[in-house]
Subunit: 523 residues, 2 copies
């Protein structure tokens, strides 16, 4: 039987394209894209197995105007083996068609499980800074051409004025020796200012370098004890940023340089939200900078809201990231922009602060005062690990019918060829970049269903949760009801069965790194 | 005195933007871009030195329609420290403005001197293949989902049919072990076919991998003795491709996946020619694939011609690269497409060959026959190193007034702080990726001018060429007329002076790797 790719929870790359085409040609164009992005051969010679398993599937077509249709196409998750390949299947060859734009994108669960995403996210950055309850204010060190002393003096003034985060301008690109001298000068200046204020302003140098040397720049920042870096994902490569974020536990602030080529042409490219929201967060951006509706770029409000939503919404177990409106915000607009962007935003004010009539230090102080007047400020979260500020796995909201926010179920298929029936699996903790030693999963077995009969070296801790089931352990049968706990030891053959008329659910804790299951001894 | 940035030969990054803006606002927008791309601070606070040395300069504005203006802006060459930075200054923040498109771009001489560009170029690839005088025909191994045996059989059939070059489909993305098995299977099949035909069909695997592993894939291809790789510069990063091409002496075939986001929206992005022609060649593409005017993408003819021109025109000392029209060429259009594209093109025919009524092998044979009928074919160039086929430094055409094609003069400034006057320098050989042990330069000294008085460990071989000058060598004076040869030994103080009323020109040969000059002993 052909798999039902459009079933909810199916592990697929799901992309919504806006097609500028007459409605009667939309179906044909959508099918052509599904082929173009995957096998790129004439339709009539696609072998049946490859059509079923490899070619994209047009899941739906919706009219979106007199000459526009939105088509949802899903692709097998194997096309998201790495972020470069993912960009290719999203929009690689389709980019060369005219009037095709990516407007929504849902990554496959299996990709989310492999990515660690933002290293710090909303709560992590707040902990580094030690400020809760209000938006953060950032500035940029510039202009290029200034001496190290001039840039260091700007950084120190901003820190003394109570600024939260100071980054290099993305135009600062130097050979390593020059970079190192500049970074050490600015870091030293911020350190001195922090000692004076008793606060911790964060300094993020720009990691811009030839491909051979990019990692050396990031490693230097990490070894110097600095909290993070500024990167330009569309210049150095999205997957290169993902690699660096996975290797270095720094704050990654992503600059949108070069991204407008994708986002700003109506009818073509990738939507602002998908690129600067979803894709940048997948690459590990803790902070995504973009031009706000105010300022000299004037990005559309709907686009900006979409970026914000995608940075903050559940996305597998990835930490929430910070939207960072920028691009020529005037000082007297900052508080309004902060209210529009919400509390968990980094307001980036560059030129307006550099040219502030009070000077940079007092200008920063005045800005921060305005924001504190609007939002208040605390040195610690209102409640420890308050739900609204918790990121990623800190709290998973339990929903009706045994679902968890941000944790869609995935098909139960770990057991390979071992037989099972009617089992739903929800990975809860451990496969979303938590770096914990164990994984927590929830399994639910339909009436008449059973898990695979198997054994392995690793142990299972099983906790009954919903309804009643039977644990078969080396041939012995024992009931498992809510809050019953069972331990399956090394190489004990085991199976969980539902012999009732109601769903049977249980938690299972296993080592994160574990051996694969094998058939029972007596099989 | 402020430098004259717009002077011909000045070492600048020169970019022509098309601005969709009312004519009376074009000047303001152009000036805003010049600031945006370099210092990004309010105009009124730019310090004078930084305005002079760092900010872009608007060199010209030309009306290009009722609501369009073309603006040429030049930037200091330091903004091209690496290709990522270069993309940033070309279009980084400007991409986020609306109605700004890059339509022409001239790289700075100092960048061209640092880049090695295509490893093989037109002549090098012909030598690898052993075919001259006609366009080459390529195909792609697909669809994804096929077994290694199926793909290897396709490769072998194409090679037996006389095909020139077979590449992996860019959709083939695998983990390393799977990649290795596939590449070895296809390479083996092509080797066997080559043994049978006595020809040398070239197989280029796709290097598509996570950032951590990309180099490992390319290294494997090189170590396996294969001639080249397919890469997707817009997916893995333009500067990553440049790094790989500099490290591995392979043929790099560049696929345009994802590039349409830049090129295909009128009024936004980067022109087809600049991206797929100039920038891909700078990154080291020996072959640049793009959708031709025929086929399912239907790229505009003017755009395609611009790509072709930029791949083949003089560009510093970089080798000429191959245009490769693709994107659904039908078999009966191939000869016409070949005539349109010219002899030095790689015609890429994928799906149409896979579904050829004669089968792949005979289909390829029929295609090649058609092309041979049109162009002929030779196993060696008509004349050894024929000028029309020679790449890069093989022949530099001497023009009137002591200029060479593709070798603009650059300011004479190697000598650092040492005084000189009225000297023009033309780098001829050695700094354009030739990997020769010595460099050849031409210097011309104005009446009354002189080179810096200096000494160094390396030796100079000087050949008089134009007019008459004086060589001062450790205090001795000697005349230098056309074809006089002088040798300056280690640590001999020397200077060349023009004491006549006419220009004095000479060649100078030096070691490629050499010590910097220092002042004379008696200074």
């Amino acid at each position: 039987m052909a798999p039902d790719h459009s079933a909810p929870g199916a592990d697929r790359i799901r992309v919504r394209y806006r097609l500028e085409t007459p409605p009667d040609q939309a179906d044909q164009l959508a099918r052509a894209i599904a082929v173009e992005q995957t096998v790129e051969i004439p339709d009539r010679i696609i072998p049946p197995r490859i059509r079923r398993e490899v070619v994209g599937e047009v899941e739906s077509l919706t009219r979106a105007g007199p000459a526009a249709t939105e088509a949802t196409i899903s692709y097998p998750p194997e096309f998201a083996g790495n972020l470069s390949e993912l960009l290719g299947v999203l929009y690689g060859n389709a980019s060369m068609l005219t009037g095709v734009r990516v407007v929504d994108f849902e990554p496959p669960i299996s990709l989310l499980e492999r990515l660690s995403g933002p290293n710090h996210g909303v709560l992590g950055l707040r902990r580094l800074r030690g400020i809760h309850g209000r938006p953060l204010v950032a500035t940029a060190l510039k202009p290029r051409g200034s001496s190290n002393e001039e840039l260091a003096a700007l950084a120190a003034a901003f820190a003394r004025g109570g600024g939260d985060l100071v980054k290099d301008d993305q135009n600062l690109n130097d050979d390593f020796v020059t970079f190192r001298a500049r970074v050490l000068a600015c870091a030293h200046a911020v350190d001195r200012a922090n000692e004076a204020t008793g606060s911790r302003c964060l300094y993020l140098p720009h990691a811009g370098a030839p491909a051979e040397e990019l990692e050396r720049y990031v490693a230097f920042v990490a070894e110097a004890g600095l909290p993070g870096v500024l990167v330009c994902p569309m210049l150095v490569g999205l997957d290169a940023v993902r690699m660096l974020a996975a290797r270095y536990p720094l704050v990654f602030m992503a600059h949108p340089s070069f991204s407008g080529a994708f986002t700003n042409a109506p009818g073509q490219g990738i939507s602002h939200g998908v690129l600067l929201g979803t894709l940048f967060r997948l690459a590990g951006a803790d902070i995504s900078v973009y031009p706000g509706p105010r300022g000299r770029f004037g990005y559309p409000e709907a686009a900006v809201r979409d970026i914000q939503t995608r940075l903050r919404a559940p996305l597998g177990g990835l930490r929430r990231a910070w939207p960072s409106p920028a691009g020529g915000l005037a000082c007297d607009e900052v508080t309004d922009a902060a209210v529009e962007s919400g509390r968990d935003a980094v307001l980036l004010i560059g030129g307006a602060l550099l040219s502030h009539p009070f000077g940079l230090e007092d200008g920063a102080r005045a800005l921060l005062d305005g924001i504190r007047a609007e939002f208040g400020e605390t040195a610690a979260p209102p409640e420890p690990m308050a739900a609204a500020e918790a990121d990623g796995p800190s709290r998973l909201a339990f929903e009706s019918d045994w679902q968890w926010t941000g944790r869609p179920g995935s098909p139960y298929k770990d057991a390979g060829d071992l037989a099972f029936r009617g089992v739903r699996r929800v990975e809860l903790v451990g496969r979303f970049g938590e770096r914990s030693g164990s994984d927590l999963r929830y399994f639910e077995v339909e009436p008449g269903g059973y898990t695979s009969h198997e054994r392995h070296l690793h142990t299972h801790v099983v906790i009954g949760a919903r309804g009643e089931g039977v644990l078969v352990l080396d041939g012995r049968r024992m009931p498992l009801r809510p809050h019953d706990i069972a331990c399956v030891g090394p190489l004990e053959s085991h199976q969980l069965r539902n012999e009732t008329d109601h769903p049977f659910g249980f938690y299972c804790v296993v080592d994160h790194h574990r051996d694969p299951p094998m058939p029972p001894r007596d099989a």
